[in-house]
């Protein structure tokens, strides 16, 4: 076609090719963010995945993970058929078997245990988005030994929030991005609520009317665009927050009205040292908490809207006892000179002036920049307010704060700070997402006190204890659960302790199990502390019987992860594009502060392998085992249609099922209503999600808002329309303390009294993280933590053909001063040494890190042979896991007791407590990581070997209709158009290339009209 080299030849560019035979909508699963996606399909292959513009979570945007879904869906590491172990555990020697044989075996193993002692079956899941099914299934089976990954992720954050404000960050709450004037982000947060936070930060920075402060020892990711980076020392966030509280109290920059209306600040705390009710709230004969009415000079119910309640003072109750308002206890605590910036600055690693300035900025944002919305609303007592007035300070925290052994109290301290500023569920503050706020704590209690053969347990395995009587302990105070959740070791372990399951099952502490079943949890590698030890537990045999100490392990995963070779029976799962799922209000839904929402996944591709969705398998197994909730009357499967059948027809309580949208026989009800056979179809028609937009009068102060509370009760989220009172002073924690002091019928064993006394302080405390305290004098001079790369999440991420081109190995990042001190230079190989062991990695020097901290990316390192990566892949040769040097047990205490390396209140895994020292490697040691494991064998498989050259998409290139040289006009696109329009004259309001439409497009879904003829 080139006629002359001196002329520009004209290429025919096809500007309107056909790109898809079909576009299907579903929900992403490349992380836990739950974005809506449009999947373009061509020739039964995935051509393109984009964010669904109408979806409430992501509004059209999609991150690197979601955009790499094609490679996940087509990964050569996918399992393709059920596998039965034939060699030794860990060798990776399997034979392929048929599903019928696999399910028959599982039924046999599980049925035998159920008939004998259901506790001997433990069922733990990873980043499972079907926990309302998996937990309920465990209960039907009759074992209390169920939990998901929360115990090693962020249960401190969740529990602290649910025991303090009745909601928590991320799934149960979010910053009011549209109105906030000051946003504080604590710790690594790049992996949770991924897209909404990025979008929120973009909004804030585009508008330029808020300050964004990032509190994180490492300046990458979001911290890189923060207006101020507070690079404090890991584990001292609580101290920092308490110093801020000290400053605010001292200057009286606190929201008195908010404290009076919405918190227990005025509730009277009994002061009667030694008595069984010392430190509990004074209550009337009906159990209502009392305050001191300064006008009447009498104790009256704190709910009394006519009372003028004292905040300080010592008062005599009618029975003669003394009591003080809880606020006084709080104020005395944090006004102590020990919390002054001057006293804590050095420990935190910040200048005194910085702490004071941040406190002043918070006060200024909260009290000088209040947000006033002219929206009338009515409070719980029927009082009408003409306006909604907000204190526009918002905060977010996730695993960075959670993953310390002082994390529960630190998280509570953050909530305390928010409440003192009056910035909970107000314009510009933190907003609850439905179904929150709930009672503090929410129901139910954890079930499993009694277990009987062939019998379901009476409730759900995970719940929220109200006091010592709700613990799962035996007569001697010993744990009833395998992971010791809800025992005196970890009384408020609301998400269980998955990180202890394999250790405890191996040790037979508190008892051995017969069958361990796990789902998408890579416990043979990056989800376990002490990986080498864990692999030892999985392969260790009883010398007398020659049997494995954990006799049978069933594992379901979609990929050949490091855990697969250590299981006996493998149930291959599908990818996220091949399955039904529901993102339920019974679990962790897609609600926003503007209203409730839930979502589904639908299969957009058919599996090309002999695999089944794990949820289908679970429901099938339930029927084979004859579990009560899964068996029809008269026998047979109750949900023969599998998970899809369950999603539509299961009712947790009458009228309440997994999905809230389009309920009722006619599909015209939401929240409650009979099952609707067309429900999934209605979801699909609506883009695979359902939302309900709250009325403006319901949008804020939900904890106290009459219209909202009535709606929440009608939806079945709260038992009554009573207001929800935030618990600054936690009576529940005090109840445990009283037990430690010898009160009540359930008391901790002698050896644990002091621990309970110390860590169940009813007001937030700070203490040095356990590992740091334990090895203080042993020369471990540095903290070692991880950050999450924004382009990876699950352990899947780092074997994704596209994502691993971005990061295929991780470095150890070291501050130049620290490097110099250790005689280390950029690119040097070093040993990172903890009290538990050592791991080798290569250094990258960087300035943006706290000098007392080294860090690396999380979960890049892989084991050779796993994930269908070549044996010389950088992930397994140069990448490394800090997990190798993190012990699941703390160093021995007095008496030889070794507690789990976890928070003493919740059992949260204390990943970030790690203390290390560095040693430069000898030249001969350079070049490869250590510990270096033998490669695992690849299982038998019908899969094609991974290609040496990947030309994905070459055959999917579309062509335009012949002869039709169509060309639509180009559209302008302004990212953050709504915000840019406010700052750049001439830019029209709207979103993206849609002018004139407001940015909250997706928050106002079209009203769903009832179907004309009883369903679609």
């Amino acid at each position: 076609m080139v006629t002359s080299p001196f002329e520009t030849p004209q290429e025919h560019v096809d500007t309107s090719p056909e790109v898809a035979d079909d576009v299907k909508q579903t929900t992403c699963y490349m992380c836990a963010c739950r974005c809506g996606i449009n999947v373009y399909l061509k020739d039964d292959k995935v051509r393109y995945i984009e964010g669904n513009p109408d979806h409430p979570v992501n509004k059209g945007i999609l991150c690197a993970k979601g955009s790499a879904g094609i490679m996940q869906h087509n990964s050569p590491a996918r399992l393709s058929k059920p596998l039965l172990r034939v060699g030794e555990r860990g060798a990776g020697e399997f034979k392929e078997i048929e599903w019928e044989e696999a399910l028959g075996l599982a039924t046999e193993w599980l049925g035998e245990v159920r008939a004998r002692d259901p506790r001997k079956f433990a069922f733990f899941t990873g980043r499972d988005q079907s926990q309302s099914l998996t937990g309920w299934w465990a209960a039907q089976y009759g074992t209390p030994n169920f939990a998901a990954h929360g115990g090693f992720c962020s249960v401190n954050m969740a529990a602290a929030g649910l025991y303090t404000i009745g909601g928590s960050f991320w799934e149960f709450g979010e910053p009011d991005w549209d109105h906030t004037r000051y946003f504080m982000l604590f710790g690594v947060a790049e992996d949770h609520d991924s897209n909404p936070i990025k979008a929120g930060l973009g909004k804030l920075k585009t508008l330029g009317q808020a300050k964004f402060v990032s509190v994180n020892p490492v300046k990458t990711g979001y911290s890189a665009i923060a207006d101020e980076w507070i690079g404090l020392r890991p584990g001292t966030d609580g101290l920092f927050v308490m110093a801020l509280i000290h400053e605010l109290l001292k200057a009286e920059k606190i929201d008195w009205d908010f404290l009076g209306r919405y918190t227990n600040a005025t509730w009277l705390v009994i002061d009667d040292p030694g008595a069984e009710d010392d430190g509990l709230f004074a209550r009337d004969s009906e159990g209502a908490a009392l305050c001191w009415d300064a006008q009447k000079q009498a104790a009256v119910p704190a709910k009394d809207i006519g009372a003028g309640a004292a905040v300080v003072g010592r008062f005599t109750l009618p029975d003669g006892r003394q009591a003080v308002p809880s606020f006084e206890l709080l104020a005395k605590r944090y006004l102590e000179p020990g919390y002054a910036p001057e006293a804590v600055a050095e420990q935190i690693g910040l200048p005194v002036e910085t702490i004071k300035r941040i406190a002043a900025e918070l006060a200024e944002a909260a009290f000088e920049k209040e947000i006033v919305l002219d929206i009338p609303w009515t409070d719980w007592a029927g009082r009408r307010h003409e306006r909604m007035v907000g204190r526009p300070v918002s905060m977010h925290a996730m695993r960075g704060i959670s993953a310390h052994s002082n994390g529960f109290h630190t998280c509570r301290a953050i909530h305390l700070l928010q409440v003192l500023l009056g910035s909970i569920d107000c314009p510009g503050g933190f907003g609850y997402k439905a179904p929150f706020p709930k009672l503090i704590p929410p129901s139910p209690l954890p079930a499993g006190k009694s277990v009987a053969p062939n019998t379901a347990i009476a409730g759900m395995p995970l719940g929220f204890p109200l006091g010592p009587d709700d613990l799962l302990v035996d007569g001697e105070g010993q744990p009833l659960r395998l992971d010791k959740a809800y025992s005196w070791d970890f009384p408020l372990a609301a998400h269980g302790l998955m990180h202890m399951v394999i250790h405890n099952a191996w040790a037979g502490d508190p008892y051995p199990v017969d069958v361990l079943m796990m789902y998408m949890a890579n416990m043979g590698w990056n989800s376990s502390m002490n990986v080498q030890g864990t692999l030892g537990y999985l392969t260790d045999k009883d010398p007398e019987t020659g049997d494995y100490k954990i006799p049978k392990i069933i594992y379901s995963d979609a990929y050949y992860s490091e855990m697969v070779p250590y299981a006996d029976l493998i149930l291959p799962d599908t990818t996220y594009l091949e399955r039904w799922d529901c993102i339920s209000l019974l679990d962790r839904p897609i609600s926003s502060a503007h209203g409730p929402g839930d979502a589904i996944r639908q299969p957009v591709c058919k599996p090309d392998r002999d695999v089944r969705p794990f949820q289908d398998v679970l429901i099938d197994l339930g029927a084979r085992l004859g579990l009560p909730g899964l068996t029809a009357e008269g026998g047979g499967a109750k949900y023969p249609g599998g998970y899809a059948d369950y999603i539509v027809n299961h009712e947790r309580s009458p009228g309440i099922g997994p999905l809230a949208g389009w309920r009722g026989a006619e599909g015209d009800q939401q929240g409650t209503g009979a099952p609707n056979p067309d429900q999934l179809q209605r979801y699909i028609e609506n883009g695979c999600f359902w939302t309900h937009k709250l009325e403006p009068s319901q949008l804020y102060f939900k904890h106290s808002n009459r219209d909202y509370l009535a709606f929440a009760k009608q939806m079945g989220w709260i038992p009554s329309e009573e207001p929800i009172t935030m618990q600054l002073y936690s009576e529940i924690l005090q109840k445990f303390r009283l037990a430690a002091r010898g009160h009540g019928k359930n008391q901790p064993p002698e050896a644990q009294r002091a621990r309970i006394e110390a860590y169940f302080d009813p007001l937030p405390i700070w203490y040095a993280p356990f590992e740091e305290a334990a090895v203080a004098d042993e020369g471990y001079d540095l903290h070692a933590i991880t950050q999450r790369p924004m382009h990876m999440y699950h352990s899947w991420g780092s074997q994704n053909a596209w994502l691993r081109q971005i990061t295929a190995r991780n470095r150890l990042f070291v501050h130049p001063e620290t490097a110099a001190k250790h005689g280390i230079e950029d690119d040097d190989w070093v040993w990172v040494i903890s009290h538990h062991g050592r791991v080798k990695g290569q250094v990258r020097v960087m300035y943006g890190v706290n000098p007392e901290t080294v860090w690396t990316w999380n979960a890049i390192g892989k084991r050779r042979g796993a994930w269908a990566l070549d044996k010389d892949a950088p992930e397994s040769n140069k990448g490394f896991l800090l997990n190798h040097i993190i012990s699941e047990l703390l160093p021995a205490r007095e008496g030889g007791t070794r507690y789990s390396n976890s928070d003493p209140v919740t059992g949260q895994a204390a990943w970030y407590d790690l203390r290390v020292r560095l040693e430069r490697c000898e030249p001969a040691e350079n070049g490869a990581t250590e510990p270096f494991f033998d490669p695992v064998k690849t299982p038998p498989s019908a899969r094609p070997k991974q290609p040496a050259v990947l030309r994905y998409g070459a055959d999917l290139k579309g062509q335009g209709a012949p002869g039709a040289d169509r060309q639509a006009p180009a559209q302008e696109w302004i990212g953050n158009r709504h915000e840019v329009a406010r700052t750049v004259p001439g830019v029209a309001d709207g979103r993206g290339n849609q002018k004139g439409k407001v940015a909250t497009l997706a928050e106002t879904p079209p009203k769903v009209e009832p179907p004309a003829e009883g369903g679609v």
Binding site: P9, C63, P76, R181, A309, A970, T983, P985, G992
Partner: protein, 251 residues
């Protein structure tokens, strides 16, 4: 050896990238890859995808680096980089076969794979390193500004923008006609003092970058008045508690 259009049209489509809010998440790069691997220059080949040295063709790459001031204060910068669709594109004029060319209608610089001999002169000529050689196909590839997406009548209107732009989670990317001083992107560039990359190279790039805003004074809130204790607190809380004795709160 290849001519630029003798008369460039008034339309200069391009990208505007806001470095103040780019968090370096790689969403733009990966979404670009998944669109374009079946697009105009399909495929965006990956070699050794599961091996020791996985490398592939990417039209858009994010460079992350630290800028350190003399006093040791650092700034982490995420810098997304793709073809800037230069007005004086040296990659075009250097091309011996006419494969590399600039469209008259909209200024998009493309490679005609049929004519490309894979000599790589263009990648040497491009001062931005924005060209991507596909070893497997033996041809040069590069950002097409999603030419098969932005005009595509088979897509809904709101999808007719470059993939990197519509997917950006932080809203850091913008797309439009930078040849029209009244266009929204041009107004944005003017308001934010957007700049062209390496103007000294004389390539007249069309894309613009919006610089990070000063962190010294990002918001009024930074000038908050210092907090002043309302009572003497050197010895603890007594002074304040005394002050609060008569305070009454209502429910």
């Amino acid at each position: 050896m290849t001519s630029l259009p003798s008369q460039s049209g008034p339309v200069k489509l391009g990208l505007v990238i806001d470095l103040d809010i780019c968090v370096g998440c790689h969403a733009c790069a990966v979404n670009c890859k998944e669109w374009n691997t079946s697009g105009h220059s399909a495929p965006l080949t990956d070699t050794d995808p599961y091996g020791a040295d996985p490398t592939g063709v990417w039209f858009n790459r994010i460079h992350t680096f630290e800028v350190v001031s003399d006093d040791g204060d650092s700034r982490t910068v995420h810098f997304p980089k793709s073809c800037l669709h230069c007005e004086d594109a040296p990659c075009v004029t250097v091309c011996p076969t006419g494969a590399s060319y600039k469209r008259e209608d909209d200024g998009i610089v493309l490679v005609n794979a049929e004519a490309c001999i894979g000599c790589k002169l263009c990648s040497w000529a491009c001062p931005y390193g924005a060209r991507e050689y596909d070893e497997d196909a033996g041809v040069m590839k590069k950002c097409t500004l999603c030419v098969d997406k932005i005009y595509n009548e088979n897509l809904p209107e709101r999808s007719r923008v470059p993939a990197c732009v519509s997917t950006c989670p932080a809203g850091a990317r913008h797309f439009g006609d930078l040849g029209d001083p009244e266009s929204e992107v041009s107004l944005l560039v003017a308001a934010r003092e957007g700049y062209e990359l390496m103007p000294e190279q004389g390539c007249a790039p069309v894309n613009r970058y919006l610089p990070p805003r000063s962190k010294a004074n990002p918001a009024e809130v930074e000038r908050a008045a210092p907090l002043v204790a309302t009572a003497e607190t050197a010895d603890g809380s007594a002074g304040l508690l005394a002050r609060w004795v008569d305070r009454m709160l209502t429910r």
